[in-house]
């Protein structure tokens, strides 16, 4: 265990290189190029805000902000869920011809998606600061926020870390399984859709339903507590609920343990199974 962690550290330049290659190569040849990193989530935001804001609105004020601050971290998670599973299989050429610690592949995939999310957070923070000058009322109104309003931002890195390891553990697990059973990819894209609606992204757990379903959406759903955390920090301007975060941390640790065990067991036969 210790040995393999040291070896992965020896290969850090490979991780850096693959992440760099992915981030730079992804939008090569398209006209908007790197801008797609921002345009894509903004368009999704538009779709969700229109559909949920106009049709199924729960009466959440500043709905655009509510959706946006949850959507960006969610897109990171769902990219890992649906794309991360093929991170090993897609690199068939490397795996069957070269030796390197196989963990490098899922690690670089998750890291590259993570950086993608961080880039988007530049916009999230900008929108958040703009929105903090408007009041939570139906009528548009300027307000001056108190400086304390921004204090919870300092807890963002904690959420990032929990989410990163949750995604990494999950990707280690799915990418190892996918080499042996190829349908995992298709199953996961359905699961991802279901999971998205089972997470308070475009709706809010309120009133009676809150008491009744809190355990399910905040504790059992590993993403529930995290998304709630992002909502607290970037939408409500309050500190996240640390009990929820503790549950998410538990999920992240579980994912890492199971993921690395399964991966290290499966990796020896990767080259033969491809």
């Amino acid at each position: 265990m210790n040995h393999s962690i040291r070896e992965i550290l020896d290969y850090r330049q490979m991780i850096v290189g693959l992440v760099h290659r992915d981030l730079r190569g992804r939008y090569r040849g398209s006209i908007l190029g790197f801008l797609w990193t921002f345009v894509n989530p903004l368009l999704q935001l538009l779709v969700y805000t229109l559909i949920f804001g106009l049709l199924f609105n729960q009466g959440i004020p500043k709905f655009y902000l509510y959706v946006f601050v949850g959507l960006i971290p969610w897109l990171f998670f769902s990219a890992c869920l649906t794309g991360g599973c093929s991170s090993v299989l897609d690199q068939q050429g490397l795996v069957t011809k070269m030796y390197f610690p196989r963990e490098v592949l899922p690690i670089s995939y998750v890291t590259s998606q993570f950086f993608n999310m961080l880039y988007c957070f530049v916009i999230v923070i900008a929108v958040y600061i703009f929105a903090s000058f408007t009041a939570f009322t139906d009528n548009f109104q300027w307000v001056i926020p108190s400086p304390n309003f921004y204090l919870p931002l300092t807890s963002l890195p904690l959420l990032f870390i929990i989410q990163f390891f949750m995604c990494l553990g999950m990707t280690l697990f799915t990418s190892a399984i996918t080499v042996y059973v190829r349908d995992v990819k298709h199953i996961l894209s359905i699961i991802s859709m279901l999971w998205m609606f089972a997470t308070p992204l475009m709706w809010k757990l309120e009133g009676d339903r809150f008491a009744k379903w809190e355990w399910l959406f905040m504790y059992v759903n590993p993403m529930g507590g995290l998304i709630d955390g992002y909502h607290c920090i970037l939408y409500g301007g309050t500190w996240p609920n640390f009990t929820y975060l503790l549950a998410s941390t538990g999920w992240a640790i579980l994912a890492m343990v199971v993921g690395s065990l399964v991966f290290s067991k499966a990796k020896k036969r990767f080259a033969e199974e491809m």
Binding site: M14, V16, G17, G25, M98, E272
Partner: protein, 271 residues
């Protein structure tokens, strides 16, 4: 006993078999519905192989197609793992099984050097230090900052070879890939390999070119049907191997009647 300590590569009773699927189902549906498709036979590729390679030796692995030499090389590289037995490798391995791993066509030669070298496990600092040497060796000069999709295949291979050879590995594993570039560049590659050999780098070559092997390797290991048939000085083993192969060739060209008589002759002698 002393030689045991010097072994840079050692394999003890290594066996490797592959499952050969008749028609492999990769998906869950295939696995459940057509479970009969998952019938496979076990094909033993290597059977109880033990060998020791000391530091600084140059070894040629020879044998006919499909005898298991490439599998052996892939196990030394740690791409495959043995089913039983143990392989120990002490030192950094650079395997020239495939050149240009991880090359991205849209990125420049220079950027690709960094990616390719990092897959050999080099850190940024180590690559920085070797960068000029690699560029010089590849003879790409001004082209180094062009995207490599604009390269000719020769330029591509030259760059790839330049990286692989400059990794400063303790062990070089080479699989039949020395047909790189034009005659001059090939000579340059061989000279570089000779130089590395002099520096005490351990080299293992898989090749069908007996010319290359006899010029380059001090020791030869002949694998036949997953077992070691011969291990010793190149001249002796390669002669044995060639003799064996030509006998077989002659045998194959005989007509049926003669074959039968030879086999029965052999059996009689055994009895």
């Amino acid at each position: 006993m002393k030689s045991k300590n010097n072994a840079i590569i050692s394999a003890e009773n290594v066996s490797k078999s592959f499952k050969i699927y008749f028609d492999k189902g990769y998906t869950l549906k295939d696995k459940l519905l057509f479970w009969r498709r998952n019938r496979h036979e076990k094909r033993e590729v290597l059977n109880d192989i033990s060998l020791k390679i000391r530091k600084g030796e140059s070894i040629g692995l020879i044998g006919r197609n499909g005898c298991g030499k490439s599998t052996m090389l892939k196990m030394l590289t740690r791409i495959y793992y043995p089913n039983s037995g143990k392989i120990t490798v002490n030192g950094r391995v650079s395997s020239l099984i495939e050149l240009g791993a991880g090359f991205h066509p849209d990125m420049t030669g220079r950027e690709n050097i960094y990616i390719n070298a990092s897959i050999y496990g080099l850190s940024k600092k180590e690559i920085d230090k070797r960068l000029q040497k690699i560029i010089d060796f590849s003879e790409l000069k001004d082209f180094i900052d062009n995207p490599i999709r604009t390269y000719s295949s020769g330029m591509y291979m030259r760059l790839a070879f330049a990286v692989a050879i400059n990794v400063n590995a303790d062990i070089l594993l080479i699989d039949e890939i020395l047909a790189v570039g034009d005659a001059n560049f090939q000579t340059k590659c061989f000279n570089k390999l000779r130089e590395l050999k002099k520096q005490g780098i351990t080299i293992v070559i898989v090749s069908h070119s007996m010319e290359l092997i006899s010029e380059f390797c001090d020791r030869c290991i002949w694998i036949e049907k997953g077992k070691i048939m011969g291990d010793g000085p190149t001249k002796k083993i390669s002669n044995k191997y060639l003799e064996y192969m030509s006998k077989e060739r002659n045998f194959a060209s005989l007509n049926e009647q003669d074959r039968i008589s030879i086999i029965s002759e052999k059996n009689r002698r055994k009895m």
